[in-house]
Symmetry: D2
Amino acid sequence: MARKNTERTGLIFPDILMKLKRGPQVILPKDAGMIIAISGIGKESICVDAGAGSGWLAVTLGNIAKKVTTYEWREEFAELAQKNINRAGLTNVEVKRKDVFTGIDEKEVDLVTLDLADSEKVVPFAHAALKSGGLVVGYLPHAEQVQQFVKACREAGFAEDKIFTIECIVREYLVRDRGFRPENTGLMHTAYLTFAKK
Amino acid sequence: MARKNTERTGLIFPDILMKLKRGPQVILPKDAGMIIAISGIGKESICVDAGAGSGWLAVTLGNIAKKVTTYEWREEFAELAQKNINRAGLTNVEVKRKDVFTGIDEKEVDLVTLDLADSEKVVPFAHAALKSGGLVVGYLPHAEQVQQFVKACREAGFAEDKIFTIECIVREYLVRDRGFRPENTGLMHTAYLTFAKK
Amino acid sequence: MARKNTERTGLIFPDILMKLKRGPQVILPKDAGMIIAISGIGKESICVDAGAGSGWLAVTLGNIAKKVTTYEWREEFAELAQKNINRAGLTNVEVKRKDVFTGIDEKEVDLVTLDLADSEKVVPFAHAALKSGGLVVGYLPHAEQVQQFVKACREAGFAEDKIFTIECIVREYLVRDRGFRPENTGLMHTAYLTFAKK
Amino acid sequence: MARKNTERTGLIFPDILMKLKRGPQVILPKDAGMIIAISGIGKESICVDAGAGSGWLAVTLGNIAKKVTTYEWREEFAELAQKNINRAGLTNVEVKRKDVFTGIDEKEVDLVTLDLADSEKVVPFAHAALKSGGLVVGYLPHAEQVQQFVKACREAGFAEDKIFTIECIVREYLVRDRGFRPENTGLMHTAYLTFAKK
C-alpha cells in the first residue's frame, strides 16, 4: 500500500503482495477484488488457477480460500510462483507442474481462474472440474479473446444467462487543501473479465 | 449472479448475497471487492464494520475473515442485519447494538469499514482499534465527505502517504455473435473509497 | 439543454438540436463534439455524411461547416432528415438520395462521417473524396466493426500512424448543498470512433 | 493528429492546433469538443473567453464562431496567445488586455468560457454579457471550484434547472491483428465542466 506504487501504477497493494517479487505481468488487486467479490469465495472454497505466472493471483486467492492449486508448466515461472507463495507464508497453495491444456485433476471446485494466451481451450476442463454453482473466470486483455472465451463457455455447457463480461476501472483521487480531483493520468485497462457459472 | 440483477443494476452478486434481503442501500460487490483486495484480509483477520445497515458488507467480510463485529444502534437495521447473517449461515459475525460514535471496543483490528453519514467522526476510534498495519476505509458518496474523512485521518495520526482515495467503476459488456460492446447504460457511481493505513 | 434530457439520457442538447424530431438513433453531442474538435472543421470546411438517418449529425456539422452533403437512400429517413434541416434553419446542408455504397461524388472534402451498418465498405470512396489532410470518421458501436473499419482504412491507403480509435464517456454530476458526486447511473456507451487522416 | 501526441497525452489534435506553441496548460480537444457541441455555437456566434492563456481555446472557438474576444491581463500570455492566433491564421479573434474580474464589455454574447483560478467571480459579468439562451462554461479542475461556480451561477440569476456539470473521459484503443483493447494508461482527468444557460 506504499504511495510509490500508487503513483506509478494507479494501484495499491496489500502487505501480503508487497512481500512478493513482481514478474512481467501480474493480476492486480482491482481485478482480483472483482473475482473474489463476484465469486463469493471464502474460507471453505477450493480454487484452481492457471497459469501461475509469478503467483500473485494464487497468493491472493490462497489468503482467502481453503486450498488453491495453480498450474504452471514453465519451470522458471513455477519456481518464481513457489518463492512468492513461500514469501507470503501460505501453505495451502500448491504449484502443479502440469500442462493445464491436457486437463484439470481437481473436482468439486468453487472457482477456476484462467490467465493464459488461449484460456478458452481450458474452459471444458474448467466446466468438468467445477461443482454446481462454481465459477470459471477468464482474464482476457483483448475483445477477441472475450468472444472466444464466451463461445467456449456456451459450448462447454454453461447457460447463456450465466455468462457475463465486465471490466473494472479504478480511478485515484488527489485530496488536498487546494481541492479534490482525480489524478490526471492512470491505468485505463488491464483485462476484460468473463465469468461463467455452472 | 442472476442475469436479472446484472441488467437492472450493472452489478453481479455471489450466491451468499443472493440469499439476503436487500435494504435501502447496500455496499455492492464492486466496492466490497476493492476493500478486500486492497486490505488483503484473509482467514485470520479481525474486522469491525459500522453501521451494519442491512448487513451486506458484514456478511461479505464474514465470509472471508475470522471475526467481524458490526455496529448498529437502530433496532430495525440490527434485526435485518442479524437475519441476513443467519441466512448466510455465518456464525463469526456479531451485531453489536451500540453507538459507534461513542467508541470501538475491539483492539488489534485488521480492518475497520465505515459507512455512516458522519464516518469521519469515528476515525479516531478506528485508529485506536487498529493494529499496526491495519486499515480504516470510508465508503463516502460525496466529495465533501472525502475531504472531511481525509482531514480526520490526518488528525487521528495516520501518515499522509498512507491515506488515499479511489473510485471503482465496473462496466458490463454485451458479447454476442453480432458483436462486442459495452452495455449502453450502467452504474456510474456508488461512493468514493478512502483508505488509511496505521 | 433542458434538464429532462439530462436526466433521461445522460446527455445535453444545444438549442439547435432541441428543435429537431428524434429518430430511432441519433449521434449525440458528446460524439459529435469529439468529431468536431479532432477534425478541426470550421467555417470553410466541406463535409460529407452517410447515412443521414434523422439528420442530427448533418445539422450539427452544418451549423459549423460551409457545406454538408448527407447521403440517404431510404425515403423515410431522407424526408425526416430534410425536415430536421429545415427546422434547424440551415440552407447549407443537402440531402442526397443516393446509395453511398456506389460512391461519393464530392471532391476535396475535409471530413467524411460514416454511420452505417457496413461503414468500412465506404472507406475507399471516402479516401478518394478527401483532400490531403482530410479525415474520415467511423461511428462504430461494436469492436468487430472497428477492426473491419481499421482494416479498410489501411487497405484504402491511409497511413498506419494516422489511424486511431477512441471512445468518449461523459459523466454527469450532482452539485448540491449536501454534496458533490457523479449521478448514480448514466450512459456507458454509444459507439467507438475511428479516425483516419489522408 | 500526429500519433506522437496520442501516445504521450491520450489526446489528438487537429491541424490548426498543431501549428500552435503549447503553453503550460491548454484546454484539450476533448473538453473543447464538449463546449462546442453542448453550446451549439456556429458561424454566427459571438464568444468571450477568459483567460486567454496560450490561446488554444480561443483559436478553437475562433475557427467556428463569428467573433471571439479573449481576455488576458498578463503580458506574457497575451503575447503568446496573439502569436498563436496569428499562426492559426485567424482574424476574428481579439486578445483584450484587460482584467476580466472588473467586467466584460461585450453584450448579446452566445458563449462565455472561463478558465481562471477564481472563475466564479466572473459569473455575474458573464450573465450580464450573455444574450437570452446563451451559455457560460467554467473549466474547473477541482470539485470545490465546481461548488463555488454553481453557487455563483445561482446567485447571478441562472435558473437551477439550467445549471449542470459534466466530465469527459476519452479512452484510446489499440486495434491490431492480435486484438482490440484500450490503451493501458491514459488521461484520467483534466477538469470538470459546469454549464449554465441564461
